[in-house]
């Protein structure tokens, strides 16, 4: 060891986040100094500087970054849901939909992909930078198009930003195609052994096709909600309770040798199975009547004066059929070994049941939208709560992460999807009921007790 001045080498480490430096800083510095001494250098090489800049910047898009970006996207989507509900569709909504939510979602997904080993550090940064530029152009294009549309409506000539809507749309599409092409090329590298040229060609072709579709889709609040929710789920996959300081999943060697905890029996007792099956068939029957009434009630029922009334009554019937379906689902699972386990199973189901009941009541007033709103929104909030409860109680994640993410996804669902999805999803009740009934199956044949050493029956 010589009296090498380590300050130029320490400066390289500033590219990395503090948590990374705390964990790896000393050993990386020592290895850099060793390499410099071996080469007879007193300063880092230019290549070392470039590599530190690349990996250090990439190290900043870790699990914490992914979770923070996705949760911020969820918060933005909740704001869009609220703005949408009160009928505000101005510039703020457009900026959130076309730029903020997609950029944050992209950041969360790119960070997740990098940490999952699907992209290299360089690929991740290139995709993130290009996609961010594309989303910025997407915002400008959306605002320009909106102004041009208004100008056309009023019979005014499009000037300023409005006049530039077409080049902006083209630029957003082109840059978006490059970002998607980069992502496709990176993913194909892991999936195929094709040459770089072929992968780039496939990536560019896919980018050109997908970019306009992706750009237009983001203008839908439903798509924004799904994107943000998906990003949270992806980011959450990086977190487990057995995490190190950076929140990364660590496999502990020999962990498989830990004494296994006896699992509860997988098959519930015959009486629970029979009750579950009966309730599932009840849900199927009630749901089938609901679907039939919704679609044909206007033709034969004296209670349905038109198709809208028949649809509303049918949806109410379907909603009520969800109640036996939920009970059936709860009973189809093995009995929870602890009281806390029971609460975790039945709590979310009870909230869903309350939500369904609330929406069913709202549909009694259909099609009076204003009269329906309180029941619909109460239902959506209860569904969101159920989703949050179910998410928080599943998986082994740090409690703060699980609760924050679950509440965010629950709020996201409550703010937008809950109101829209509930009346659509209930049409799946007959199928879900039948599947559950068939899965539960007939009760198993009574086992014949055979004592060891018992004489074989003589035929």
């Amino acid at each position: 060891m010589t009296d090498l001045d380590d300050r130029p080498f320490r400066r390289l480490l500033r590219w990395y986040p503090v948590s990374w430096r705390r964990r790896h800083g000393d050993v990386v510095l020592s290895t850099l100094l060793d390499a410099a001494e071996a080469d007879g250098r007193r300063t880092p090489t230019a290549a070392e500087g470039r590599h530190a800049a690349l990996h250090g910047t990439a190290a900043r898009i870790g699990p914490g970054f992914a979770l923070a970006a996705s949760l911020t996207a969820v918060a933005a989507a909740v704001v869009v849901g609220i703005l949408w509900a009160i009928g505000s569709t101005g510039d703020v909504t457009l900026i959130l939909l076309a730029g903020v939510i997609p950029t944050l979602t992209t950041a969360a997904i790119v960070a997740t992909a990098r940490l999952r080993g699907l992209t290299s550090d360089g690929e991740a940064l290139a995709i993130l930078a290009t996609a961010s530029a594309a989303w910025a152009l997407n915002v400008l294009a959306a605002l320009a198009w909106s102004r041009a549309f208004d100008a056309g409506d009023d019979g005014r000539p499009a000037v300023g930003l409005a006049a530039a809507w077409m080049p902006l749309v083209a630029a957003a599409g082109a840059v978006g195609a490059v970002a998607l092409g980069l992502a496709m090329t990176a993913l194909l590298r892991r999936a195929t052994r094709r040459s770089l040229g072929i992968r780039i060609a496939i990536g560019i072709a896919a980018g050109c096709v997908l970019a306009p579709l992706v750009g237009v889709t983001t203008l839908s609040p439903a798509a924004a909600t799904l994107m943000a929710g998906g990003a949270v789920v992806a980011a959450l996959s990086l977190w487990r309770s057995s995490t190190n300081r950076e929140g990364l999943v660590v496999s502990v060697p020999g962990a498989g040798a830990v004494a296994s905890v006896p699992r509860p029996p997988l098959v519930p007792d015959p009486r629970r199975r029979a009750a579950s099956r009966g309730l599932a068939w009840l849900a199927t029957t009630g749901g089938s009547v609901g679907v039939a009434y919704a679609l044909t009630g206007a033709m034969w029922s004296p209670g349905a004066e038109d198709g809208t009334a028949a649809m509303a009554h049918g949806i109410t019937l379907l909603m009520l059929s969800v109640l036996p379906l939920l009970s059936s689902f709860g009973l189809s699972r093995p009995q929870a070994p602890t009281r806390a386990g029971g609460r975790q199973r039945w709590g979310p189901l009870l909230l869903v049941a309350s939500g369904v009941f609330s929406v069913a009541l709202a549909y009694v007033d259909a099609p009076e939208a204003e009269a329906m709103q309180p029941g619909s929104y109460a239902g959506a909030v209860l569904f969101g709560g159920a989703l949050a409860w179910a998410m928080a109680s599943r998986g082994r994640r740090p409690r703060a992460v699980a609760v924050t993410a679950s509440v965010a996804v629950g709020a996201l669902f409550a703010s937008f999807l809950g109101v829209m999805l509930a009346p659509v999803l209930v049409f799946g009740v007959p199928i879900a009921g039948a599947l559950l009934a068939l899965r539960t199956g007939p009760p198993p044949a009574s086992p014949v007790a055979v004592s060891p050493g018992a004489p074989a029956p003589v035929l």
Binding site: M1, H24, L33, H51, H55, V249, P253, G254
Partner: protein
């Protein structure tokens, strides 16, 4: 192949995250920090599978190379 120190640690971090290697202690040698890594069971299995795949590829390549070579001309002496 030359591996930059920062690239090396980026790779080590990824391998550790994937559970293929694990840190096996640190020590200070001549005033400089040293960290040692060991292969985990999963890492050894993964490496073994990679080696197997490489051997298979090498075998196939050798067989194809041998098949594509023209047979040695008769009567031609080879001096070693």
């Amino acid at each position: 192949m030359t591996l930059k120190v920062t690239t090396l640690y980026s790779a080590l971090e990824r391998l550790e995250r994937d559970g293929l290697i694990a840190s096996d202690g640190e020590e200070i040698v001549s005033g400089r920090a040293r960290r040692y890594y060991v292969l985990t069971d999963g890492g050894a299995a993964s490496l073994s599978a990679e080696v197997e795949a490489l051997e298979t590829q090498a075998r196939v390549a050798r067989a194809k190379l041998a098949a594509s070579r023209p047979a040695a001309a008769p009567g031609r002496a080879v001096l070693s």
